[in-house]
Every structure is written in C-alpha cells, then in structure tokens.
Symmetry: C2
Subunit: 95 residues, 2 copies
C-alpha cells in the first residue's frame, strides 16, 4: 500500500470552485482500480489549505490514475486556482 | 473525527535515532483515549522525510495527547534531530 498527501493552498475567493473540481475528481477516482481511499481534508486553522490524503494498492495504480482522462482534465484546472507552492508526496508506511 | 499530518525532515545521519523515538511515541500514544490511528510514513523519494498521519476522535483527545508525559518528553528530542521547517496541520474531512 502507498499513501499520498497532496497539499494545496487555494487562491483567495476560489474555494468553492476548487471544491467543485475536487468533488468531480473524487467521484471519478474512487472508481479506479487500485484506489483504496481518496479523501479531501481542510485545515481547521486555514480553510484555504485543502489536502488530499490517498491510499493506493501500489505505485502502478497511482501511475494509471495520473494518466486518467479525469486527472489530466481536472488537475490543470486546480493548478490555475491554487498557489504555486503545493506539496505532493508519496509515502510508504514505516511504523 | 480530526486528522493530523505532521511532516518532519530528519537531520542527515539521524534517521535511526528518529525512528526509535517515533517507535516509543507510537507505542504509548496508540493506547491513549480518543486515538484512532497514529502511524508513521516515509517519503519514497526522500527517506529523511518522516510524516505522522493521525486520526483522533476529536480536538479534546489531541489536546490531551499534547500534554501527555510521553509527548512532552519525546517531542523535544525529535525536534533536536529534525530540520526547523516542520509542517504540522490539523484537518477535518471535507469530501
């Protein structure tokens, strides 16, 4: 199993637009093979920080996700309304 | 339920020390009331990045954790062997 944490800060005034895009992305992605969890979280101290926490069966499933029609279409739209300093990390469980 | 993501970068050559500290912290913390998950992940592209991903029943349980004997003792030891730019965030699930 691999875990992904993808943190973004949404531009001022674009939170509703970002949530709508995430909603569609989540609906489509959770149907993908190898997707165990694909959930969106909001920072309780800074509502513009939206972070996807994901679980995938393996790296191959994540790779397939990143070339899916919905990811290729929606990801650039999210990039347009989020700050440049996003943080995307792929993890394996250690303890 | 609240989610915590606490990302740290361990100083060069101190990974084993950090893992030993996390191990004790995890053993003690998972016995706390209100702790649902308390797991350590390692960045597959940068082994010095260690991130705790936690689930707590509520904010009160997390507050109690932060004044526990083991947290107060172990957290400063971890701080000594990690970079200054840690990232600690508390989240609620949005989607």
């Amino acid at each position: 199993m691999i875990k992904v944490v993808a943190k973004n800060c949404v531009l001022e005034g674009r939170l509703d637009d970002a949530i709508a895009l995430y909603k569609e992305l989540i609906e489509k992605t959770t149907k993908e093979k190898g997707c165990i969890k694909y959930e969106l979280f909001q920072d309780i101290n800074d509502p513009r920080i939206l972070t996807m926490i994901e679980e995938w069966e393996n790296k191959e499933a994540l790779n397939a996700h990143e070339v899916s029609e919905h990811f290729i279409r929606i990801f650039p739209l999210l990039k347009e309304i989020t700050e440049k300093d996003s943080d995307f990390r792929i993890y394996e469980r250690l303890l």
